[in-house]
């Protein structure tokens, strides 16, 4: 351990955040203001998520951090190291073992179970922001449930592209009341928001907002009667593990336009490869000792 207080934040700050979290859980989808602290990383790197994680962690927790589904990108590695250094909790890459998962822009493929907490990093918590720039007005719209404007965005998509082209940060309605921005997760993940056994917490550091989706909540993606919501993904199988039902990253492999598709969830992919699944381009998998 070190000279830091457990999980970096002081106890008063953690209490303040926990109060905001309790309120957020009590009112699913409602954006609770909180006094976001300056963190030792820039805004946009997950300061909101880190504060929520810090307020939730207990010494017995097992932490997993992912960035776009991956355990080993810069953002994920540095946040994981940050908590190892400041709290000393155990860390893991295995989704099923983790008790707290901080995520940037993905929900793990592996179904979550009760008792797990999924913490999202949120850049812009207000789903109406780009249609109505006035915060006073958007708050009023949430208060009075004036959500027609959200459909204007979808209307514009169809008018311009012939189909709902919004593919991430796809707006949802939580428990029949609040419209919520699920953070920039692909709309492929939207169906996993509703009825999820895990507690889902959202932290926006720069915007100073916390919101939540409690376990087994009703979450509906907005759509039109004649243009229903479709959870899209690239029409391929994973080239490493052969999974047909996971969200894929497109990787360009040369300057001739050759590309491969791989699971964005690295833990999911590795688990499948260990179990013997082989994709189109996979070399025989060797478990490193």
């Amino acid at each position: 351990m070190s000279d830091y207080n457990f999980a970096y934040l002081d106890e008063d700050t953690k209490r303040m955040i926990r109060r905001a979290l309790l309120k957020a859980v009590a009112i699913p989808g409602y954006q609770v203001p909180f006094a976001s602290r300056e963190m030792p990383m820039p805004y946009g790197w997950g300061t909101g998520g880190v504060q929520v994680t810090a307020a939730c962690l207990v010494p017995e927790d097992v932490l997993k951090v992912i960035d776009q589904g991956s355990d080993d990108t810069t953002n994920a590695v540095s946040i994981r190291k940050f908590f190892v250094k400041t709290s000393g909790v155990a860390v893991t890459e295995t989704t099923t073992e983790a008790t707290v998962i901080q995520t940037r822009h993905r929900i793990p493929e592996q179904a979550l179970h009760e008792g797990q907490i999924l913490v999202y990093q949120v850049p812009i918590p207000e789903p109406l922001r780009f249609l109505e720039p006035r915060e006073t007005e958007t708050r009023k719209m949430h208060e009075l449930q004036e959500y027609g404007l959200m459909h204007v965005k979808l209307y514009e998509d169809i008018a311009r592209h012939g189909t709902i082209a919004t593919s991430y940060a796809y707006p949802v309605k939580v428990e029949g009341r609040y419209i919520m921005d699920p953070s920039p997760i692909p709309k492929f993940d939207n169906p996993k928001l509703g009825g999820n056994a895990a507690l889902q917490l959202f932290g926006a550091g720069r915007e100073q907002r916390i919101y939540a989706v409690p376990p087994y909540s009703d979450v509906v993606s907005l759509d039109f009667d004649d243009h229903p919501f479709v959870a899209g993904k690239a029409p391929h199988d994973c080239d490493l593990c052969g999974a047909a039902d996971s969200y894929l990253d497109e990787v360009i492999t040369d300057d001739q336009g050759t590309r491969m598709y791989v699971c964005s969830d690295t833990d999911f992919c590795a688990t499948r490869r260990t179990a013997g699944h082989v994709g189109r381009l996979a070399a025989p998998y060797e478990v490193t000792p």
Partner: protein, 255 residues
């Protein structure tokens, strides 16, 4: 028959200054009421109070809604805003205030429909196209943004956006304000047609006597926040009684 809107002793002050004072009138269904006066005479303050954008200090406003008479000033904000999206409409002088400039023309017209629960894209689009046709905007402009429209087209689009939910009461604040004369004439023609066809009740604020001559059944003349003369439009304009009204009528340039 009961009046659609009853206004009694409406007063709005800005500190020691008078916005409008002791304004009372009844608006009947299907009637077009013109409010004229010079700049600073309280016309716009009065209109804002009537539409619920400003809270008056004194007075009463009763609206005969589809569900019976309602005290507008005692309504909850939710109810007033719902009324503002359905039964009422507000046409701003500057179309930029009444339109979403970053959203296509079809989206602008469709917004009010979606705000009252329309969730079928095909039907919303059909209605938007129908309304664009009624305000003489070509159907192939439906996906263009209002910023690509001329001033007259923007104003017509704003009118379409307001009328699409079939309101009963329309507030207009200088609807022909920034437009040149020929465009004004076409817009007035269009407005007159729509008002008659839909049986709208309209309160129109303007400083342009030609506009009220064409549109309004009845006229109120305001000066320094008070109504100084009211009556049938032709009567007031042809035989003005108050000195200020006489001045106003005689100031119109004859070409």
């Amino acid at each position: 028959m009961t009046p659609l809107l009853q206004v009694a002793n409406l007063t709005k002050r800005y500190g020691a200054r008078i916005g409008c004072q002791d304004v009372s009138f009844d608006l009947w269904p299907g009637e077009v009421l013109g409010i004229v006066g010079e700049s600073g005479s309280g016309k716009s303050t009065l209109l804002s109070c009537l539409a619920g954008h400003l809270k008056p200090d004194l007075g009463a406003i009763t609206y005969d809604s589809r569900l019976g008479a309602r005290d507008v000033l005692a309504m909850s904000e939710a109810e007033r805003r719902l009324l503002g999206r359905t039964d009422w409409a507000y046409v701003h002088q500057n179309p930029r205030d009444g339109l979403r400039m970053g959203v296509s023309a079809g989206g602008n017209v469709g917004e009010r429909l979606m705000a009252v629960g329309a969730r079928h894209y095909g039907q919303i689009r059909t209605q938007a196209l129908d309304w664009l046709g009624r305000v003489e905007i070509a159907a192939d402009r439906v996906d263009d943004r209002p910023s690509a429209f001329s001033g007259g087209m923007q104003q017509r689009l704003q009118i379409a956006r307001n009328l699409v939910t079939g309101p009963r009461l329309v507030f207009m604040d200088e609807p022909t304000g920034g437009l040149d004369v020929s465009v004004q004439a076409r817009l007035l023609d269009l407005l007159r047609g729509l008002v008659r066809e839909m049986g709208l009740s309209v309160i129109i604020v303007t400083h342009d006597l030609a506009v009220v001559r064409l549109l309004a059944d009845r006229l109120m003349v305001m000066k320094n926040g008070r109504v100084i003369e009211s009556g049938l439009t032709d009567q007031v304009l042809d035989d003005p009684q108050a000195p200020y009204t006489q001045l106003l009528v005689s100031s119109v340039l004859q070409v």
